[in-house]
Subunit: 463 residues, 4 copies
């Protein structure tokens, strides 16, 4: 364990076991292993090219690191918790394989810039994976929208019937959210995509490094411009957590709707059996557990955002060990997002929408009263007055225990002489088809949305 000892150059005593456990991160940062090796390879190559270390040493280091990568892929690599973190685990193994030259790898590098590099590489992959998950879920929404372009349902405000809409229109609202999520991720990526290696512990390095080479080699667009910022910056993690929190909030909304809609009272959807679970005690159960878990896990994702914000609050420059706490919550959030996007896509794709039930409920609750008010406005009445008369009409009908469609023209005209016979033609269909404003629920508008949604998918896939 020479490295560990070396990094405690001035300490006369070893850490106690409790302290070792308290400070170790290997149990979770081993997820960064692949990135750590890739980064070390690029660093060693550059050190060789710049003649900071001998080319032969650089080659040996690279070969050794590649061997370690293979050992990891085949599951043979032994992670040792007494070696604290992933960096020391790898460097220690490198020493076993190539001997003293391993000690050259840490030239012109500190764990501070090294770990910043690893986490940034991880985040780049995470963004790609979550973005792909968003696109897949988006496709499922669009697919269901296309299949339900003629499905009527009650549109809700306040969880009360408001105005009838197309189910496709409702589903496409989620596409808007997902497109924003995707855009946020891509913009967050701009700030992740910065190569920090070459910042050293905090002050930069007294070697002729070629930072651009390392950046290109690892697929980064830019190198960091202030070494103190580079080792203490975790903005990109907070931002990724925040973007994920918004995305998860959207997934909690669709989850809530699936839970409601699959209830005995709503009966709007039937979830596929493979997405429901039973009960240990109640044999009849078909519970929407996947949707509930997605909704519940929103808490974890929010909590993880709050965690990293709290950790960073009031930290002086530059690197502080507090920053070690950036990773576990990040990994958890990314795992929750990728898995939730996947199961949500599968669940929605296999969901059956009960069109008959939705149609039945579309006409309930005087849902066309606004159309009646708009009828009066079209005849020249100020909207506020029209709204009031329509309200009285609803009160009248309620008293008579009738739906609006059951009223006669005479009854309408009792309340206002402005009513004309076409008021009797107001229907769910006429209501939906009339809403022709851009973004409205009329079928042609919904078709436009679908077209635009597919263009998004093409753009997203092209990346």
């Amino acid at each position: 364990m020479p490295e560990l000892k070396a990094s405690r150059a001035r300490q006369s005593k070893p850490m106690t076991r409790a302290v070792q456990d308290y400070t170790a991160s290997i149990s979770y940062d081993k997820r960064l292993a692949e990135y750590d090796i890739e980064g070390s390879i690029a660093h060693a190559e550059m050190l060789g090219r710049q003649r900071i270390i001998l080319a032969t040493a650089a080659n040996k280091i690279v070969a050794g690191l590649k061997q370690i990568l293979k050992e990891m892929e085949s599951g043979k690599f032994k992670f040792r918790s007494e070696l604290e973190d992933i960096h020391l685990n790898i460097e220690s193994r490198l020493g076993e394989i190539i001997g003293n030259d391993a000690g050259m790898l840490h030239t012109a590098r500190s764990r501070n810039d090294q770990v910043a590099l690893d986490v940034r590489m991880y985040c780049k992959d995470a963004v790609a994976e979550i973005s792909a998950g968003i696109t897949e879920l988006h496709k499922v929404f669009v697919g269901q929208a296309e299949a339900n372009i003629t499905t009527y349902m009650p549109g809700f405000t306040h969880t009360q019937h408001a105005q009838p809409v197309l189910l496709a229109h409702h589903l496409l609202a989620y596409c808007q959210m997902l497109e924003r999520d995707h855009q946020r991720l891509q913009q967050c990526l701009e700030r992740i995509d910065v190569m920090p290696l070459g910042s050293g512990a905090l002050a930069g390095l007294p070697y002729k490094l070629d930072r651009e080479y390392v950046a290109n080699r690892l697929g980064f667009s830019r190198v960091s411009q202030n070494s103190m910022d580079a080792v203490s910056d975790r903005d990109f993690i907070v931002e990724l957590q925040a973007v994920c929190a918004i995305l998860m909030m959207h997934l909690s909304r669709i989850s809530e709707e699936l839970v409601l809609w699959s209830s005995d009272e709503f009966g709007f959807v039937s979830l596929d059996d493979s997405y429901t679970t039973g009960s240990s005690i109640m044999p009849q159960k078909r519970n929407p557990d996947v949707a509930e878990l997605a909704r519940g896990r929103t808490g974890r994702v929010y909590g993880n955002l709050m965690a990293i914000l709290t950790t960073l609050k009031g930290l002086p420059l530059s690197y502080n060990r507090d920053l070690q706490e950036d990773k576990e919550a990040l990994f958890e959030t990314v795992d929750i997002l990728t898995s939730t996007l996947e199961v949500m896509a599968g669940m929605l794709e296999s969901t059956t929408f009960n069109k008959k039930r939705m149609l039945e409920m579309s006409g309930r609750g005087y849902i066309l009263a606004t159309d009646v008010a708009d009828h009066l406005t079209a005849k020249g009445m100020p909207f506020r007055q029209a709204h009031e008369i329509a309200g009285r009409l609803v009160a009248y009908a309620t008293g008579k225990r009738k739906e609006l469609s059951e009223l006669t023209l005479a009854e309408y005209r009792q309340l206002s002489k402005s009513f004309e016979s076409d008021v009797l033609k107001i229907s769910i269909k006429s209501s939906i088809e009339s809403r022709q404003t851009v973004g409205g629920t009329a079928p042609n508008q919904v078709m436009s949305q679908i077209k635009a949604a597919k263009q998004f998918q093409m753009r997203a896939s092209a990346k």
Copy 2:
């Protein structure tokens, strides 16, 4: 109070006083008054142009609204809490001024899309104001950096002396943070800058609206594309809160440093008297209250982010009254950010850096040990071994109660024959000047940073 009654068309009873108080938002949404009027003017003009209402009515409405705006500017407008919210306050006053035609204003509009418009207009201004505040603070940092291009200080990791750096380098790290904050705000603006009017309650509207006209008139780049999303989307608020939380976190870090640096123990800075406060009991006090309050208010900003995320969790589509809770926390966060940026700029600009004390501390704590290790590496020794020898050297010097600069070459060479006479030339200055990597603390690198920072300022001001 005809409007209020009208909006309760189907209710046979008034709200109790407690319910009225519980649901009213006028105490805080009056901050949206100007936006509400501007939006209504654009809406009325469009209704007139599209012949949805008579041109004469449109003109009267516009004139009435302009009068109300003047009443507000002169402080004459009476906000009435029984009129629930800002929209009804204005519409009610409009009725008093122009009579029945006021009732035409709400044609083809719902409070759902109206309030979404108002909040988006507010957010656009908030982004502009915060962005300007960032740029001002950025200028102060750059100004102090330029004034301290030759000021040495101990660079810290773990709040321990690590390696000497230029004070300018330290200050410029904050410029990097502020530039990212600025970029995040501008990207967030893309998603704020969407005009929702024309979405109606949730389903779009049965009128021939010209939504693009309204958008242009109000300076929006785009119109919303799905009416259900448009009335229920509050992503832009969450995102703005998140961007503000990151910015506030940065301000908490500089605050923490000012608190530390102005302590009797550090003595790195003297805050200007106008930025310190005294004590009611201790006559000698010069407390850094502004920095402490900034640090403390980070809690409010984080809490406000958590608040809106919680409120949105699991909400079904489309509009729900829960969304009313989006505003107070938003206003508070924006107020905290703009005021903190302002006082922080003034405080930093007027701060005196105690160069002598900083220099004195720059040499303490064996801060040049890394340079000694790098010296050995330059002689061909693997870094790990060099690190270990330098560590033993520190231990040796500690035992002798000497600083490294007090050791003789002979003493160096006792530990390694690789030491050569130029090891005696290692100094704070040589250490700083050697760190020539891009983003390093060497003076020419720091000068490059300052140049780039000024380019940022020009770009930011051009917007």
Copy 3:
């Protein structure tokens, strides 16, 4: 403004207007006015009794403070924002009224212990008010439970029909929550109820104070035991915020149920007109806005808890100005809790439960399948096997489009010979009445709960 000047004894410059605004707290801490005066009266009396100041001076101070209190009660007191906080506003006015002797009031006191006292006094009242609100709401739940002791409804797990229960049983679940909330508040009170005055700025005071006298005079049970802790402790605020967050979470759960239950699909309840609102555009609307706002405000309450926790994180001892940020969020949370408890009580009391609809839904969804399994278990079959057979029975009935009650004994026995004729007697009523375990939904158990709930109310009222 002599006081303000005095507290800036060592500053050669005034604060800028921006700094004055940034540091001032008078806009919100004026809510502490009454407590501040009460505390000052007790302090002045004690100073007089202990002969630390002259009895005549003490008397003048007390008389002056009482006059200020009257000025406040009559709305005549002028709060001046340039006087920073409530303490200086009052002391300044005292100077105007009684002259130089006012300067004796701050003997043996610091704003640090003074504000700690004021906030603790506020919290004591807040606990009392919230506790009373809990008890009132608890009574409404019990009242509705008593009125619905024979109302059947489907019990839910996963928002799916699980087993039939009494509505009273469901309502009484909330009483359990409220009783825990009440208990938490009372225990939190033990830690609030500590008198900090006499701690000075941080180190205690060099005067012969009678702290017990002040504590008794102000109704505190104990005096603080460590002066540094006393001025920096805000635990009691965090704890009160946390207790309120749990309470608000409970209120969000009942809110969610009221929203669901008043939907067109559920139709379980009709909210009273005075607790619903209409729409500016849709005339038919009866929206459950009060419940939605309560649910939405949960975000604010959670956020306020997070705010104070964040503010306190990592603060060194003792008093820091960050602590000023403890109040606004506290006031807001207490206001939200007291108002929500009040409107919730009124809303629930006036809610009509649609017993017929609830009964109708109680039999849906094979809700009695568990009873069928329990029937088999009673005949000696292991529960796991019984559960499986009941599951197959449900599948059989689903295929036949029958409810379980429509099956014949022969059909039952096709699946298991263990079924006996009493299986046909399984009903909603039998199911409910059979659940006789302590805490179960059988009517006698529910009656016991009501009895215990009333005992809680008596205990709570006795306090």
Copy 4:
């Protein structure tokens, strides 16, 4: 895998692998294994005693469960992820060991009340463990206080020198916090200590259960009183998380102080080598990583509180799968607290306080100015006036570049004739010894605190 199949009685399809992974909890709820078995043993015994199942079956079940416990203790038990959770893992293994009778164990029990029981048992142990950790840390503080009863240090407000205090006094402030933490935990325990088994899925059970027997057998004080509440209540977890968050906040404060105090600038403490770490690049480093990690982990603990609050927001009754998300964050928080308490105790115990440096700084910064003001007050001057004169004195001395102790009586009397010769006797010692109020920093008061602290320890240990 008969159990899993059984619990999906009505599903015609298996879950996909992704869904299985998404819903499985075995990776973390295996920590509940021991509690689950203990609970099952008590349940089975009770079923046997009540003749709900045959005594022979009960005996076999109990024997089988004990065997499983042994398999776990010896590491032989194979956890199978396809068996979803800990309950099914154990029940499945029981079936392998004792055959069909295993199916009787789940009689009169649901996973809903079973998991509630397990988590409550876990929480009881967690409270005990954390309480013990608090007491240990408290002892270390008291030990250091006793060792430093004559150590002077500058007391801080606003991180500025305020008044001199005893180091013991400062340390004992933390004892106050820890005592409150301990009390909160004990009171939280009252609400954890409720036995939920016998609540069934939600409605209670149709069996003659002896719930009191199970409660006694498992060491619970009470049984739950409403079955719907019992399966959906997670208050005790929120409360435990909140109590832990406050405790962690306290630990973050002491951590912050250790970081500051061990800085080169403060130099108040030297951490023991076994509690510091080095750097991979800087050989001289002795970093306070343990304190930094404790401070950083505060974020995780806060985040976990926010997570559970978010998860519970707006959940309708009774059990919902969202509740599965209660455990991971709870386990993490408890682990962080117990480990942090342990390392903090070790670190503080081994910390060397640099008395000389502390004493040196105790006299800096006109720290005795308040004593000068109090001197004047003792001569009859109103405190406000005295404060002003002392302020002018500090200004005078600053101008002369003198400390107050270097001024002559004549200089004092230039500012006020009220100064008398004993003003020259003001010293750090006299300042500290004069603060005799209860809770003040005078040595006898500090001794009283130590005595009271030891009484707390005795009470805490007696539990």
